[in-house]
């Protein structure tokens, strides 16, 4: 664990350190200097190295594996196959549903996707393991694969009834509407592409397992390991103080995790297994490819009468992933008639997974492009179109918004961008051989809420420790929890050390869906409040305390010093008080769970997502909102698209730290630029294999692709969304970026590209 160094000019401290202050990341110096140790950097005695062997077919059976050459290769300790790896128990899923099968083998006999792990080699060195893995020979009985959604064998898929949303008579109203558009929008398979690959170091000591693994959910993953190996939950310790990017991909213990932990158990030695870059494209799911049809019927004045939406996403042959495609469609605009239905189609891929704003992201691509098409059908400004159909309440839940500063976002963004100077006709703005386009789109993400807990300790020297098994993957948890504890307790941030990323700390649920900041600031605020109460109680009641004789009702703590509210009488530092009363530490554990929560419910709260609180619970519908304004320049000869300006106005409620919130928004916008223009997992249709699974060929934006991005916060505190008034930040920024760019490309060129990414060959 690295103690973060927090020094800044004293004059700025109070302003920066308060909740809502622009304090820089407290973990930044440790990361820049290399003092921050990531999972794979642990130096363990007797460490061994495992390398996986992946299937070279996308569908079929493994008929034989010849391990002889690998077993006799230098340094090899074990070659694991489905026949030789130890038996594991089935583990329940992330909702807590019990497993379908009582046993689990992380190496496949039945291959359902290319790259699936079929064997593993463990050796004394990494190089020996790599060399021996290449000697493992695998024979297959190959069967035809369904490579993607457009495969003739794929079919229409499975209807997901829980995704269906209907009100009014959408089909009839659409048929009767005087102005109609209907179009299909596709997004490809995309990958999280974190710089830090997936992997782990696993070490057994007796029946106790320690796993160093980058994780967005220590307690959920610890539960999975415990169930696989049939040991108590408390016997598993996950350690993940720093994460080199997750974007949704690092919340689950996966097949490669099981292989490494099983190998460590079988060999009685710690095992390190890190996926190589191509394996990071086949060992866990990226964003599922999606197809949507959006039909909108409107009056001649632009008022929407009906939206009919149909969506499909790919899932795996042996796993279910639903990318909720109607999530934005059903709430963004007011409409008296609505219908959304969704199917999933099984194809030969690893089970798709969460990538930044799963559901909302592709959903917004459909509806936000469609509304732009409708605006052009009517000859209206696309921004005006959105205001005409502004939803004053949640059209689906029929409840008022907790807060919805979207009108303010449109106004602030348009003003800063200079939208009023836009000429509406396509191809009407140019500079030399560059066609210029201005596009707008809105985005939203629900406020996902859960219960949390935290430990806050006040130590004898007056310093404060915050402990939680939640994590910081760059979004700023260390920093905002230090700010929260410091403000609640009345101490400088430099006196607070935040410890995260160890499952032996106070429990935490998943870090995903932009819920962590709201949950954890609430929990730390509560625990710190309890610690403060105990501190003040001690100061007032302990006969050794100089405050005892004051007969006061309360005391205040400011800048780490305790005094009476009116400032008369003694003043002591926290350390001085702890010393005079003879206390080593004050420990407070605060949680936001309802009273009388059973231990079983508490366990389920942190190790599954079944206990999340719906965003439409009670009287309100709770969401973050944003509006993106984008300028693109399209070369008229080459079809190359460059984003030259972005102005985004966002409503994430109250910001705990605007500097970090802006950084997260910008990260999302950058990811959205990549999604719009570059990212696509390209499948060889004959082999069902991703052929661009590396960072040279899977295109992510470089610095040269990113212009200055202006973000504007238009949020107001939302008391219905979190204890301190914040709404979600991290997922929101990406939602709406791709449609804003696609709409800008249409404005520049007059061409509607409805299949992402918008690469040059689609415009040439």
């Amino acid at each position: 664990m690295t103690v973060h160094d927090m020094k800044h000019a004293a004059s700025d401290s109070a302003r920066l350190e308060a909740v809502g202050g622009r304090l820089s990341r407290v973990d930044g110096p440790a990361k820049i200097t290399g003092a921050a140790h990531y999972a794979f950097e642990q130096q363990l005695e007797g460490l061994t190295h495992a390398v996986l062997v992946g299937a070279t077919i996308a569908a079929g059976k493994v008929t034989a594996i010849d391990t002889r050459a690998a077993e006799t290769a230098p340094g090899v300790l074990a070659v694991l196959t489905p026949d030789t790896i130890m038996a594991l128990k089935g583990a329940s899923d992330w909702f807590g549903n019990p497993p379908a099968l009582s046993t689990y083998c992380p190496l496949a006999r039945e291959v359902t996707f290319s790259g699936q792990h079929v064997a593993a080699v463990v050796a004394e060195t990494f190089e020996q393991a790599v060399a021996a893995a290449a000697l493992v020979k695998v024979w297959y009985d190959e069967t035809p694969a369904i490579v993607d959604l457009s495969d003739g064998k794929a079919g229409d898929g499975i209807p997901i009834d829980a995704m269906a949303k209907e009100w009014g008579d959408a089909q009839a109203a659409f048929a009767a509407a005087p102005v109609r558009i209907c179009a299909a929008y596709n997004t490809p398979r995309e990958f999280q592409a974190a710089m830090e690959p997936h992997g782990l170091i696993a070490r057994w000591e007796g029946d106790e397992l320690t796993v160093w693994e980058p994780s967005q959910w220590l307690d959920g993953m610890a539960r999975t390991y415990a169930e696989w190996f049939g040991v108590p939950f408390e016997n598993v310790r996950l350690v993940s103080p720093y994460i080199g990017g997750g974007f949704g991909s690092k919340a689950l213990a996966l097949a490669h995790s099981a292989v490494a932990a099983a190998a460590a158990r079988m060999l009685g030695r710690p095992v390190k297994l890190v996926l190589n870059r191509p394996q990071n494209f086949t060992s866990y799911g990226g964003r599922a490819a999606t197809r949507q049809t959006v039909a909108i019927g409107a009056d001649r004045d632009g008022k929407i009468q009906s939206i009919v939406h149909r969506g499909v996403n790919e899932t795996a042959v042996d796993g279910m992933w639903v990318e909720p495609l109607g999530s934005v469609t059903s709430i963004m605009y007011a409409t008296p008639n609505f219908s959304s239905k969704q199917n999933v189609v099984r194809v030969n891929t690893v089970v798709p997974g969460a990538k930044r704003a799963p559901g909302e992201n592709p959903s917004a691509f459909g509806i936000e492009c469609a509304i732009d098409e409708l605006a052009y059908e009517l000859g209206l400004d696309p921004l005006e179109m959105r205001l005409i159909n502004y939803a004053e309440q949640d059209p689906h839940a029929k409840k008022p918004w907790s807060t919805r500063q979207l009108r303010e976002a449109f106004a602030a963004g348009a003003e800063a961008f200079g939208w009023a100077k836009r000429s509406n006709a396509p191809r009407s703005m140019r500079e030399d051989r560059q066609l210029i386009g201005w596009g707008v789109a809105a985005g939203t993400y629900p406020v996902r809420r859960a219960h949390g807990e935290a430990v806050v300790n006040i130590l004898a020297d007056g310093s404060v420790e915050v402990e939680s098994s939640s994590i910081d993957m760059g979004q700023g948890t260390y920093t905002i929890l230090a700010q929260t504890a410091a403000e609640t307790l009345g101490v400088p941030v430099s006196q607070v050390s935040v410890k995260l990323g160890d499952s032996h700390f106070a429990r935490a649920g998943v870090t995903g869906g932009s819920r962590l900041a709201g949950v954890m600031t609430g929990a730390v605020h509560k625990a710190a409040g309890q610690a403060l109460d105990e501190l003040i109680g001690l100061a007032l009641s302990d006969p050794r305390s100089p405050f005892h004789r004051l007969q006061a009702n309360t005391l205040v703590v400011k800048d780490g010093r305790i005094a009476s509210p009116r400032g008369e009488g003694p003043e002591l530092s926290i350390a001085e008080l702890m010393s005079v009363v003879g206390r080593e530490r004050i420990e407070a554990k605060g949680d936001t769970l309802p009273a009388r929560t059973t231990p079983e419910e508490r366990y389920a709260n942190y190790t599954t997502i079944a206990k999340s609180i719906p965003h439409t619970e009670g009287d309100y519908s709770r969401h973050s909102w944003c509006a993106h304004f984008v300028e693109v320049r399209v070369d008229e000869d080459f079809g190359t698209v460059r984003v030259s300006r972005v102005v985004s106005a966002l409503d994430s409620g109250r910001l705990y730290n605007p500097k970090l919130a802006e950084s997260q928004w910008k990260g999302g916008i950058i990811m959205g630029i990549g999604q719009a223009l570059l990212e696509e997992g390209i499948v060889d249709r004959r082999h069902g294999r991703i052929v661009n699974g590396n960072f040279a060929d899977y295109m992510l934006p470089t610095n040269a692709d990113i212009p200055d991005i202006q973000t504007i916060s238009v949020g107001i505190p939302d008391p219905h969304s979190s204890a301190l008034g914040g709404k979600g930040v991290g997922e929101l920024g990406i939602v709406g970026v791709a449609p804003a760019i696609a709409n800008a490309v249409f404005h520049a060129t007059g061409k509607r590209v409805r299949d992402l990414p918008i690469t040059l060959e689609k415009l040439i």
């Binding site: 079809g639 570059l678 060889d684 052929v691 060929d697 040439i764």
Partner: protein, 327 residues
């Protein structure tokens, strides 16, 4: 471990002797060799480290010629003042290649030996058929994902694109590669696949690239390298053009023009038909665009790479127009 011998050559002679060993491969900047070894494509029996040979990294430029040592780093040549003023297309091609980190490591000689980025070539475990890797095994790319594959100079054996930038500029300006006993035109040093896709370069066992020589010319002095790609940086060309232009005294009649193409052919591709069509013609957009189409004579696509046939002439035309504007 895949064992290999490591030899450090302290002289060109030692390097040549070692390079004649069976299974020997030269190591300079390592950006290609180590990458291909990690893919499982390169499995050298002996690695000969030539990076310590003295005097091979010199860059000497006069109005008559640029002499660039094989061990000069890409970034050094790109930033060389006389290269920039007398051979701007060479500098621009280098600046737009790879990333800053790679340019700081990679050498000019090694750059000429860069292998194709064909994804089938680079993945032996999943795609055993590749005539470039194992002659006669077939071509996995034909019928597969061909978005980046060549439309010029292809054969039934191989459609892999030559990925580099520098050599395109070298071919445009008649540069030569010095192999010691032999000097070859860079254009002839690169081989189209034909029936022998495994032979990419006219280099024999025991030969070592020591230098590149580029003749000076008015066209080289007024030259540019235009690279078109979806990503602004660190991506191989969808299509690129190295163009040099010399005008008559009237300032609008083309006296000499050089055109070479990258990203669309199996080797750095000189577009002589375009050059011939434009010599003596006026620097006029319609004329230039019409002549640029001639570069695609004989082009064959494999489906997804069809766009390159439309794109490449536009890149040529825009490069010429850009030079015309900088009169």
């Amino acid at each position: 471990m895949r064992d290999f011998s490591y030899l450090r050559a302290d002289s060109i002679e030692a390097a040549r002797n070692a390079a004649a060993l069976p299974g020997a491969m030269l190591l300079a900047g390592g950006t290609t060799l180590i990458d291909l070894a990690k893919c499982g494509v390169a499995e050298p029996a002996t690695v000969i480290d030539i990076s310590h040979i003295e005097g091979l990294n010199a860059v000497d430029v006069t109005a008559d010629r640029a002499l660039i040592g094989a061990l000069a780093k890409m970034s050094h040549v790109a930033d060389h003042a006389e290269v920039k003023s007398l051979f701007p297309a060479v500098s621009e091609a280098l600046w737009q290649a790879a990333s800053a980190q790679l340019r700081n490591m990679a050498t000019i000689g090694g750059n000429l030996m860069q292998r194709t980025r064909c994804p089938y070539f680079r993945d032996p475990a999943n795609f055993p058929a590749c005539n470039k890797r194992s002659p006669g095994s077939g071509c996995s790319a034909i019928g597969g994902v061909t978005l980046g594959h060549a439309v010029l100079g292809t054969s039934e054996a191989c459609i892999a694109t030559y990925p580099g930038d520098l050599a395109v500029a070298l071919v445009a300006f008649d540069a030569e590669v010095d192999l010691g006993e032999r000097k070859l035109k860079v254009e002839d040093f690169f081989l189209a696949p034909g029936a022998t896709a495994e032979q990419e370069h006219d280099i024999r066992p025991g030969e070592v690239i020591t230098a590149i020589e580029i003749p000076g010319s008015a066209a080289a002095r007024r030259s540019t390298y235009l690279k078109v790609r979806d990503r602004q940086s660190y991506e191989f060309a969808a299509a690129s053009a190295a163009v040099g232009l010399e005008l008559e005294g009237d300032g609008r009649t083309i006296r000499d023009i050089r055109v070479a193409l990258g990203g669309v052919a199996t080797k750095p591709w000189r577009a002589r038909a375009v050059e011939e069509a434009l010599k003596g013609k006026a620097l006029d957009e319609a004329t230039i665009r019409e002549a640029s189409e001639l570069a695609m004579e004989g082009a064959v696509d494999h489906g997804a790479n069809h766009y390159k046939i439309a794109l490449a002439p536009r890149v040529i035309a825009r490069a010429i127009l850009k030079l015309g504007e900088t009169a």
